[in-house]
């Protein structure tokens, strides 16, 4: 089977990917918009039976998906690089290759999930993770919730949970009161964000507070917290815990794109270090949906050679980059969070590898070979980021298949090369 051909291939249909598609579609370019979720919108605009989508999201989604130049492939994952400018992809039914002239990576971010005693108990999720699960129909009515970790996502997750009938018994923000207050004081520079943060504010919000352990035997029953220096225990049905976001840079890394800190490095056109490959949104550094939208539009225009249209958006991008910098400073992680795991706390949840099996090693590769940490189904996406935070080990670029795939899909590599 010969590869599908397209002018622009966009990976990820969140705000950045949708904006990139719309910008690129103003030319005559053919666009394929690929996403591993069943519906477009990414994480922030995840639709579902218990989601409330902003009008802006609904209208952007309709304009992009209704555009004659755009082919949307939902529920589709990238499995491997299949040669120059070609990716092997898979959906629920089949695997196939797509050949592109330009590639725009809008792969978003995931939560930093750090291991602590009890974090593998059913009832413990990520903070954004719980929000995503609720939007897709997870029942939380009358359940007691503790939301912990760091960043504005805690408030957003709490708001979604409360809207769906949950009781929020505590929001534990690890950052100190001064840092959070300093950030809030800067919000008038971005009035729209100020409005958002007030509507999200919650009287159970505590700064300088972090999780110590999830309690329970077969399922979560409560949480032990370090709350402004005191140890407290809170009974709850669910704990949603996330320590901020980390860029999904793996696909870009596998294609040879350079990193800057943990994100894909880009220039003013959102171009990566690899010719013809662009990156926009959280995978190129955090800043929220407003920054993702403008970066996506710049990448989309640049990819089809419309540089003046791209450049016209630079001022708007700079404004939201300022917001991102303030955010990242305020929610820097407390070093105490590196000491949450005990010897028998599982760090790798795929292969059930405990902290004690890792702590003696000098690097990621050695630890992996000795313990199988990071060699399971998630390919180190969770534990790799955790050990980078805990031990400073740099995870290696992922090797194909980038996610578990069917044999029939992998055979599509053979078809064309032979």
């Amino acid at each position: 089977m010969s590869p599908e051909q397209t002018d622009v291939l966009i990976i990820g249909a969140g705000p950045a990917g949708l904006a990139a598609a719309l910008a690129a579609a103003s030319s005559t370019a053919r666009i394929v918009l690929l996403d591993d979720n069943p519906l477009a919108g990414g994480q922030i605009w995840r639709d579902g039976p218990q989601a409330e989508l902003p009008e802006q999201a609904r209208s952007l989604r309709e304009r992009v998906l209704g555009h004659p130049n755009v082919r949307h492939c939902p529920g589709t994952r990238v499995i491997a690089s299949a040669g120059p400018n070609t990716l092997l992809v898979e959906d629920a039914e089949r695997g196939w290759q797509i050949r592109y002239d330009k590639l725009i990576l809008c792969t978003g971010a995931r939560e930093l999930l750090l291991p602590f005693p009890g974090w593998t108990l059913p009832g413990v999720t990520g903070a954004g993770g719980l929000q995503a699960l609720i939007k897709a129909g997870l029942p939380v009515r009358d359940q007691a919730l503790v939301i912990a970790g760091s960043g504005p996502l805690l408030l957003a997750s709490a708001a979604t949970a409360r809207h769906n009938g949950a009781r929020i018994v505590r929001i534990a923000e690890q950052a100190a009161r001064g840092a959070v207050a300093g950030f809030a004081a800067q919000l008038p520079r971005w009035p729209h964000k100020l409005l958002q943060s007030f509507s999200l504010f919650d009287r159970q919000y505590r700064t300088g507070t972090h999780v110590l352990a999830a309690l329970g035997s077969d399922r979560l029953e409560g949480v032990r917290l370090s709350q402004q220096g005191n140890i407290v225990e809170v009974a709850c049905d669910r704990l949603a815990c996330g320590f901020g976001l980390i860029p999904n840079s793996q696909l870009g890394q596998a294609l040879g794109c350079a990193l800057e800190q943990q994100a894909l490095a880009v220039d003013g056109w959102q171009a990566t270090s690899v010719a013809g490959v662009y990156a926009a949104g959280e995978c190129s550094g955090f800043g929220g949906s407003e920054l993702a939208l403008v970066e996506g539009a710049i990448a989309g225009h640049a990819a089809v050679g419309e540089h003046p249209a791209a450049q016209a958006l630079w001022t708007r991008r700079a404004r939201w980059q300022g917001f991102a910098r303030a955010l990242n400073r305020a929610f820097a992680l407390n070093p105490a969070l590196k000491a949450l795991a005990t010897a028998d706390t599982l760090v790798c949840r795929c292969e059930d590898v405990a902290y004690a099996e890792l702590s003696g090693h000098v690097g990621w590769r050695e630890a992996k070979l000795a313990s199988r940490c990071g060699m399971g189904a998630c390919q180190g996406r969770v534990c790799g980021a955790a050990v980078q935070h805990l031990f400073g080990w740099q995870p290696s670029a992922p090797r194909p298949p980038f996610s578990p795939a069917r044999i029939e899909t992998l055979l599509c590599l053979e078809d064309i090369s032979s």
Binding site: A92, G123, G137, R349, C378
Partner: protein, 78 residues
């Protein structure tokens, strides 16, 4: 309102419900059993962690990225 079969029991859910949500609507919320025998439930909710992998009509799928469909067979064990 699709009706699926979750671990042998019928379950009707609202349109657009993910299989991950259905696990909690019709059971104890767990998706799989880990290599050391612990029951696990969805963690990241966004297709990263693979904790929610279940068997759907004979294929391994992520519950959080799969929408419930009429007649779907979902297995969370062993």
């Amino acid at each position: 309102m699709p009706e699926l079969i979750l671990d042998g029991r019928p379950l009707r859910v609202p349109d657009g419900t993910s299989v991950a949500a259905a696990l909690a609507l019709g059971g104890d919320g767990c998706a799989r059993t880990s290599v050391s025998g612990q029951r696990r439930a969805p963690l990241c909710g966004m297709g990263i962690c693979q904790e929610c992998r279940v068997n759907i009509d004979g294929r391994r799928r992520l519950a959080c990225q799969t929408l419930c469909r009429d007649g779907m067979h979902v297995e969370t064990r062993p």
